[in-house]
């Protein structure tokens, strides 16, 4: 139920947006892809994934539609909207700045 301790608040949104920037996916596949591309480092609990998706949908960054999926079931597919893409670009830039700054602080040699 709990989030992985290393998943900084708000970064889940960024990760979801980034993954959806590549292709529209359903909720389950988003979770799988996240674990897969981060080399199992980032694990998002199924519990926090769906509220996050609905929050992004309500914010208008992503949009959802029901489509038949590969096994002939109906599945909800999420995709990135244009405002979402812009938001992602902004947030990625922010993230790069922030992580670079933190890295440089962490790498400081103790005197």
């Amino acid at each position: 139920m709990s989030k992985p301790p290393d998943l900084v608040q708000g970064t889940l949104d960024l990760l979801i947006l980034k993954i959806l920037a590549l292709e529209p996916l359903n909720g389950w596949a988003i979770g799988q892809r996240l674990t897969q591309v981060s080399g199992d480092v980032l694990q998002v609990s199924d519990g926090s994934l769906y509220p996050a998706l609905h929050k992004l949908e309500r914010a208008g960054w992503i949009t959802a539609e029901w489509r038949p999926s590969e096994n002939n079931r109906r599945a909800k597919f999420y995709s990135l909207t244009r405002p979402g893409r812009r938001h992602l670009e902004k947030e990625s830039a922010n993230w790069s700045r922030l992580s670079a700054a933190i890295s440089s602080v962490v790498r400081l040699k103790e005197a």
Binding site: S45, Y50, R58, A59, R74
Partner: protein
């Protein structure tokens, strides 16, 4: 792009609110789909189906919790709670329909009155004039703002021409005035309003004719063919909207004019004009015209820049004489002022009055809500204990207040829909300019909505804050016994405020009523009963000389005087209470001095006029037919003129002249003295007058406009058809400009004060009723709260009279405080009535009115207090103590 996002999120919210079932189904499907996939994945890793399902469910951490989280995210808590609040409010209000009905009705009255008055204010004051870019249209004025020649915004013709020559700030300017010619050659003769305008007039306003052409340079020049533009109404009424009307000839006062165009519907500016004729302004020694001048400012030029230009113009040498400079002021005035100047102060006063009514209604409802909220402290406490925050409770109570005020607003619009036509019907004709603009439109609805919301918050906020203050802490502990005197100070303040507000309105209405009664009691100087008048204008085209006019007058008078029941008939050129009169200088024979600035009215009358109008002849004789052109010149003076010109002497036999440089033939001998007449209206002072016999008046200007007065022994109104017939027999081409009984004419001059008084009285009575109801509510509640206390007191030996005393003492304290505060407010506010010219012969601080109103309010308050007091007296101590 922000918009795109916003629209999307609105759509989602909308779905969340109204398609709940489908959404729920989708949450369910989505999560179920996830679990299934997870199970499959687990099986693929070698788990048994059961193990895989368990692992999937554990990872999800409870499907129902997730769904709840999703719901929170999607609906947004505020929206969700708002819906809850609204539903809850409707449900609880539905459970106490009596309370809801009283509260909604109270607010409906308050809001409806405001919406109705706003509808009129909106139509008259706020809506723009029906011309393109009306905010660039201004009147140019350089005219006396004070003194006997005080006028509206106008320019003299000379200033108009000079200003036009040097002005840089206006695109174009035009001058206009109105006349009332008789239209013939297009159906029955009819008197209509004619806009006499310079050819640029319609270019300034940017109004084009719907067919034909407008005026162009050269129209109106002497020697050119006279032309006329028709209004849409006249075109439809008299020409059946036939385009072939163009080019036909119509006659205005007998002069043929060619119809060159028809203006679009709705164009009736200025003064309800039905036709327009071109005029060219020329200066000659006799030109003393002052007319309104309208101009369209150049784009980007401000009113202030135009004013600066006009200021410079006014200061140039030779423009205004040194002695006039104090009162002649240059002014750039929005065009709309011309229409609304008279009505603005009434409208503002009524706006204030209905505002007071709404405040009282609002106070009433605040008290109702407070009472109700107090009764629900238990409920609040329980909800608080179950985790509702105070903000949440306040919001819920506010929502209830808003539901009431919105319902009140909706009912108020319905009231306004009925009220506005009634208001217009009650008002004397001409009170409201731009009648066609007065209607309930989007602005009125928006205004009502805003007022409703503000009212709801105003009435609901304090009770909501009060009721929830202790909810959380200790109400549960009290085991449900309400504390006697809860919020007593606040309740008292509400009652005091209501009394004070109602008192202010009542005082205003009382002053107006007294003023109106005084006005009605004024002696006009003539005897209106049994008199009827007929006014006729003789066009110069048909009656070119004084002699031909006098012949007509004598003929008509002869026919009028032999009508059945007629006891006297006569005529005057400017009737009392009419719109125009001639005042002027007078010279005394010898070295007698006329007092400085002394002006007299100079009416011309026929023999028999004084008897017909019922003006008392004090001494001397009436005019006779023998006072003709060849006979010695004679005059009759009014009492005040006699006193001013011949102080302490008998004026009869005195000699005066009405010419500036009299020749021997111009000297006139006083032969009689009559009563003073209120020539300009009941509220004005009596003008001194010097009457001349009409046969000794030479100028056609003084004879063309004549009012015939007839005194009858019967109902004067019955004589009207016969008078019309007699006029037709004398000259079939002459319309009666007006036929009106003198009582009607007097009523017309007092119609506006009567309307204002009536309206303010209705509002004040409404305010008083609401205030008394509010007072009753406060007292009844206080008694109900203290039943136990009263029960104990009576059980301990208090007499029932003591209890009544207690209640009445409190009533008097509340009402007394309200009356003192209200009287203070009234002293401050009734001055506005006086300054707006609403009061005649009554001081704004009239002690009698103040005392009577205060007494009346006190009596009403005691009545309001007696009912709960009697209820307290009849308490059975045992029942009261066991209650709750």
């Amino acid at each position: 792009m922000r918009l795109e996002r916003w629209l999307y999120s609105v759509r989602l919210r909308f779905r969340a609110l109204f398609c709940r079932d489908r959404e729920e189904q989708e949450f369910d499907d989505e999560l179920r789909d996830h679990i299934e996939r997870q199970v499959q994945a687990g099986e693929a890793r070698g788990l048994t189906p059961d193990q895989a399902r368990r692992a999937a469910l554990i990872a999800m951490g409870g499907v129902e919790q997730r769904k709840e989280e999703i719901r929170d995210v999607r609906r947004g808590r505020v929206t969700e709670e708002l819906v809850q609040d609204v539903r809850y409010a409707i449900r609880t209000l539905g459970r106490s329909p009596g309370f809801a009905a009283v509260a909604v009705l109270t607010l409906a009255l308050g809001i409806g009155a405001n919406s109705a008055v706003f509808t009129v204010v909106n139509g008259v004051l706020l809506r723009p004039m029906p011309f393109p870019e009306p905010d660039r249209l201004f009147l140019v004025s350089l005219a006396p703002v004070d003194g006997p020649f005080r006028s509206g915004p106008v320019l003299t013709d000379r200033h108009y021409l000079e200003f036009r020559a040097q002005d840089r700030q206006f695109e174009q300017i035009a001058t206009f005035s109105t006349s009332e010619p008789t239209l013939t050659g297009a159906g029955d003769p009819i008197r209509i309003s004619d806009g006499t305008v310079t050819p640029e007039f319609f270019d300034v306003l940017r109004v084009q004719p719907q067919i034909g052409r407008g005026f162009q340079a050269g129209d109106g020049q002497p020697g050119t063919n006279p032309v006329v533009l028709l209004s849409d109404r006249i075109w439809r009424m008299r020409f059946n909207a036939d385009p072939r009307a163009l080019g036909t000839l119509v006659r205005l006062d007998g002069v043929a004019h060619e119809v060159i165009g028809v203006m679009p519907p709705g164009m009736t500016f200025p003064s309800d004009a039905q036709v327009w004729t071109p005029v060219v302004v020329r200066l000659d020694p006799h030109n003393s015209w002052m007319r309104p001048v309208v101009g369209r400012l150049r784009r980007g030029v401000s009113r202030r820049e135009a004013q600066a230009e006009l200021d410079v113009f006014a200061r140039q040498p030779g423009r205004v004489s040194a002695q006039d400079r104090d009162v002649w002021r240059p002014a750039i005035v929005p065009l709309k002022e011309l229409l609304i100047a008279n009505v603005r102060s009434s409208l503002l006063i009524f706006t204030g009055a209905v505002g007071f009514v709404l405040l009282i209604a609002c106070t009433n409802v605040a008290h109702l809500l407070l009472t109700r909220a107090t009764g629900r402290r238990q409920e609040m406490a329980v909800r608080a204990a179950l985790g509702a925050g105070r903000a949440r409770l306040v919001r819920q109570l506010l929502t209830e207040g808003l539901m009431i005020s919105l319902a009140g607003g909706a009912a108020g619009v319905v009231l306004a829909m009925a009220g506005v036509p009634a208001l217009i019907a009650l008002a004397p004709l001409g009170t409201f300019p731009r009648l066609e603009m007065i209607r309930i439109d989007g602005w009125v609805l928006a205004f009502t909505l805003v007022v409703s919301v503000l009212t709801g918050i105003g009435a609901g906020l304090v009770p909501a804050l009060r009721a929830t203050r202790q909810a959380v802490s200790d109400t549960l502990n009290q085991g449900g016994r309400s504390v006697a005197g809860g919020h007593e100070r606040l309740r008292n303040a509400l009652a005091v405020a209501e009394v004070a507000l109602a008192l202010i309105l009542l005082t205003g209405a009382g002053l107006m009523l007294k003023s109106f009664l005084r006005l009605r009691a004024v002696d006009p100087g003539f005897t209106p009963d049994h008199a009827i008048t007929l006014t006729v204008d003789l066009p110069n085209s048909a009656y070119g000389s004084a002699a031909s006019m006098q012949t007509f007058h004598t003929a008509l008078l002869g026919r009028l005087s032999v009508l059945p029941d007629v006891v006297a008939a006569g005529a005057v050129n400017w009737r009392p209470l009419g719109s125009a009169l001639i005042r002027g200088d007078v010279v005394l024979e010898g070295d007698r001095k006329v007092p400085d600035g002394f002006l007299v009215d100079k009416p011309a009358v026929t023999p028999g006029y004084f008897r017909a109008m019922g003006i008392h002849l004090h001494s001397g004789r009436d005019f006779m037919e023998s006072d003709g052109a060849a006979a010695p010149g004679v005059v009759i003076v009014s009492q005040s003129a006699g006193r001013a010109l011949w102080p302490n002497e008998d004026p009869i036999g005195g000699r005066v002249s009405l010419q500036d440089d009299p020749t021997p033939a111009d000297w006139l001998t006083v032969v009689g003295i009559v009563d003073d007449v209120k020539q300009q209206g009941l509220a004005k002072g009596a003008d001194p007058a010097i009457y001349q016999p009409y046969r000794q008046v030479k100028g056609t200007f003084f004879l063309s406009h004549m009012t015939f007065a007839v005194r009858t022994t019967a109902d004067p109104a019955l004589l009207a058809p016969a008078m019309r017939a007699v006029l037709h027999d004398t000259d079939a081409n002459l319309p009666a400009q007006s036929i009106a009984t003198m009582p009607d004419l007097i009523a017309a001059t007092t119609a506006e004060p009567r309307f204002q008084t009536r309206l303010l009285t209705v509002l004040a009575v409404l305010a008083l009723t609401l205030a008394v109801l509010g007072m009753y509510g406060v007292l009844a509640y206080a008694v109900a709260l203290r039943r136990r206390e009263f029960g104990i007191r009576m059980a301990l030996g208090a007499q029932s009279a003591d209890v009544v005393d207690l209640v009445l003492r409190r009533t008097l304290a509340l009402a007394g405080t309200g009356i003192v505060i209200g009287s203070g407010g009234a002293i401050a506010l009734t001055r506005v009535l006086d300054q707006s010219g609403f009061l005649f012969d009554v001081r704004p601080t009239d002690p009698t009115t103040f005392a009577l109103v205060a007494l009346g309010v006190l009596v009403m308050a005691v009545v309001a207090g007696l009912i709960p007091a009697r209820r307290a007296r009849r308490l059975d101590p045992m029942v009261a103590m066991r209650a709750e």
